[in-house]
């Protein structure tokens, strides 16, 4: 396996942990915020370094220079590949932007130290291909939000029940998978698929997500769901072992969730819940793309994963900025905020349109590939994907109109975006529009990742015993999937 020139992954994972240790000891919220910014930014720099270094190697996978984990834990413990290479910096960017845009009035309530722990766990998860490592990290990831909900004095039961169930199914499923008996193997696959469905918020197992948005701070909720660790688990744990019937079942349930959540987003009377369902619908569309398992559909799913991560995180940041000014936002009536914050309004619209795959934004080509892949599998699936996207687009504009138009808003203070918010908007806008106007590099990279995933599926079909391993079959895949 190729080696990166520096231990980028280890540095990126350890940096937030060190930061968390330092921030835990600080009692001044302002100082904690400043330190959190420094450490999330440093982690972001390391992840960008990892991405660039990986791209310069022109390989499918690589591990760290001076990799200390492989001798200790085994191979695949800390690896970057085509799938995870852009996801790692994206995750770090989201944490940095959320930390940066936290309003001073919120510093006291926002758990910077726990978010640094979350960042470290997330980066470790995205760098891990070892099944038990992934299961352990997925479980550990649920701890920081749980602590926050508990510290806010809210009920943790919904969140705890779902996360425990997910973890239990993952552990039991993976243990049973090694058995030889066919029935037990099928049970194991069903357990793993169920765990992934819970973590991805597929209906009717999605209530933990709405509960998280209700009870945690909006920043924490966004950071927990936006990187889509459920989809990551699906690719790493389920896709390599699941037979076609399991993949089709996941795809169908995800499709139903995409439509259901889009419909629910349309009727919500509160901004957080609207965002939650909008995200849920998009995350389910990503799963549909991943589980149809055709080169085009998978490429579409992976493209939408990145675009949705960027755009909906941006939309979430805008809502967070509005909440910091006006408290929780009702969608039962108009607020007319455009006049006071035109920049935030335009950014809300831009990110919302990007999430639905509007032409010229980063989501456009991904959405088209996804529909193309879905239609190739079954035209009815394609129709439902398009229908969900249409409902989402109506929900986005409805929320925009409710929040920013419809009345005259009076206030005696300036509500305009602060420079830190403007900076975050600028970065995300550049990524959304840049990725939309020059989509080829992103699509090519996601296609390579898709072909590698499909190669593993083909390896599994021809050599069932090798299913869990990760052979580099990129070249084979490209030639096999070519017509």
């Amino acid at each position: 396996m190729f080696e990166l020139h520096l231990p980028w992954l280890e540095l990126a994972i350890v940096t937030p942990l060190v930061g968390a240790a330092l921030v835990f000891r600080v009692h001044d919220p302002e100082l904690a915020w400043r330190r959190a910014i420094v450490f999330t930014f440093t982690a972001l720099c390391f992840t960008v370094g990892e991405w660039q270094d990986f791209n310069s190697l022109h390989t499918f996978e690589a591990h760290d220079h001076w990799d200390i984990f492989t001798p200790l834990v085994g191979p695949d413990a800390l690896v970057v590949d085509e799938l995870s290479a852009p996801l790692i910096p994206l995750a770090a960017l989201l944490f940095f932007l959320v930390t940066l845009t936290t309003m001073k009035t919120k510093n006291r309530r926002f758990p910077f130290a726990w978010n640094l722990v979350s960042l470290s766990l997330l980066l470790a998860l995205l760098s891990c291909r070892q099944p038990w490592g992934i299961i352990a990290l997925l479980t550990a990831q649920a701890v920081p939000p749980w602590v926050e909900i508990r510290s806010r004095g809210r009920s943790t039961r919904v969140f705890t029940l779902h996360m425990l169930l997910c973890t239990g199914l993952l552990i039991a499923g993976w243990m049973l998978l090694s058995t030889e008996a066919g029935t037990l193997k099928n049970v194991a696959i069903i357990m793993l698929a169920l765990a992934v469905l819970i973590r991805s918020g597929v209906a009717p197992l999605h209530c933990w997500m709405t509960d998280l948005f209700e009870n945690a701070s909006l920043g924490t909720a966004i950071l927990f769901v936006a990187p889509m660790s459920g989809a990551y688990a699906a690719v790493r744990l389920v896709l390599p072992v699941a037979p076609d019937w399991a993949l089709q079942s996941i795809a169908l349930l995800s499709l139903a969730t995409a439509v259901y959540a889009a419909g629910m987003a349309l009727i919500q009377q509160e901004a957080r819940r609207f965002f939650c369902y909008l995200f849920l619908s998009h995350a389910s569309l990503v799963l549909v793309g991943l589980e149809v398992a055709t080169p085009i559909g998978l490429t579409g799913g992976l493209c939408v994963w990145l675009s949705v991560g960027m755009s909906l995180a941006g939309l979430g940041l805008t809502l967070r900025a509005l909440e910091a000014r006006s408290g929780r936002l009702s969608l039962a009536d108009y607020h007319g905020l455009y006049e006071h914050m035109p920049g935030l309004a335009v950014f809300f619209l831009l990110t919302g349109l990007a999430s639905i795959g509007f032409p010229g934004t980063v989501g456009f080509i991904g959405a088209e590939l996804l529909v193309e892949g879905a239609v190739a599998v079954n035209p009815f699936v394609g129709v439902l994907v398009v229908f969900a996207a249409a409902l989402n687009s109506i929900a986005v504009l409805q929320a925009y109109f409710k929040l920013f138009t419809g009345t005259q808003h009076t206030t005696s203070i300036s509500l305009k975006a602060r420079w830190r918010e403007q900076f975050a908007m600028l970065i995300l806008s550049a990524l959304i529009l840049g990725g939309g106007l020059v989509p080829q590099p992103g699509v090519a990279s996601r296609y390579h990742a898709a072909t590698e995933i499909i190669a593993r599926l083909e390896t599994r079909e021809s050599h069932p015993g090798l299913a869990v391993q990760s052979p580099n079959k990129h070249v084979v895949a490209v030639s096999k999937t070519s017509r």
Partner: protein, 464 residues
Amino acid sequence: MSTNTLFFILGIAVLVCPATLVVILGLPPLVGRPLSEKTINRYAYAATVIGLLASLFMLAMMLVVGTRHVPIELGNWVIIPQQHFHFHLKFIFDRLSIPYVILSFLLCGTVSAFTSHYLHREQGYGRFYVCYSFFLLGMIVSSLAGTIEVLFFGWELVGLSSALLVAYFQERPAPVINGLRVWSVYRIADAAFLMAAVAMHHLTGAGDFDRLVGTGSWPDGIAVMTGGQALSVGLLLLVAAAGKSALVPLSGWLPRAMEGPTPSSAIFYGALSVHLGAYLLLRVSPLLEVSVPLAVAVVIVGLMTSLMATLMARVQTDIKSALAFASLTQVGIIVVEIGLGFRYIALIHILGHACLRTLQLLRAPTLLHDYHTIENAIGGRSTEESGFWGRRLPRSLQNWSYRFASERGYLDGMLDVFVVRPFQRLFQWCDAAERCWTDFLSGGHSRESDEVQIHNEIVEELRL
């Protein structure tokens, strides 16, 4: 300089003008540096005039050289060669697109000049022109599109700018509600468009219109699809066209769109946007020759639209709505012409109708003044005698027709009763079920969002 190079430069100039206008008008407000009215006007004027001159010069060149089909190839925007997937950036100047592009520049320029006075010192002056620039770009891209994906790109820009301009007077709820209604209809129609694009990809291997209509230039192309394929793709495109051109049964949004400022009403719903659906049908008209059922469907939709619109236009009490339905009557007739295969007549009808309706809509704000002038000239009130039908139809049928027309064919009402409300009820029921479930799991009240106040402005004062 060779002829081909000159064609390429002119073609690029036509495309770059509106794209540059979008960048120039769109970026400064984003970074907090909005442009002055004078600067905005100058750029809008320059973009439309240069674009118009370039397209006129292109037309002249085509006539001189004797070619009727000039493709401008910009390569593949996205390509996955192994999967034969490509997003081809291709634009076509032909006998259909050139007149429509010239019309677009001409009418957009006229409306821009009118707007500079009409919206002078309005708070949303800059916002109007940003939407206007997106609309112009969308129109030019749609008109010149050589592939269905490029057409979809422009189509979406036109849709978004239209919805935002309907909601232009955004400090009132009514325009916003109407803007959302327009957007909703557009999105459903766009979904059909996207499905048509994907279906075309699967059937012909590419989204190029050349593949769809053979190698012959418009209107001489011959579709390479079978009758069944043409019918399926054509019906999806007919739904898309019905959404954009307000054809039956998707006509309900048209009078609502009149909430926008008069210049946008003139350019969108009187002139360009409302004809875009008909333009799409003209572009894919070779499909109609392959599938007779498709042609029949187009004729029926056009005929029904025309009949209903003419009835509705007679009972409107405000001039803009009356003009909107009058416009729709003509669009319906244009669609019938397309269905019957009279393509040149349809194109000429579009051009003439768009110019007339723009003039009428731009004159609409001065209607009362015009009436005063007329009545002063004739020395009394003008009297209206009952028309041909008024004298022959029974009273009960007249009353029914009046109710039918004033309720706008019950189209909006049916949409609300049979689609929107059941949809809302279903998902509200699901929401309530979810509440019960999370309440049960959490052992108490699980939703803080239930207690969110509708207006919470006092919090701002406390927080910042």
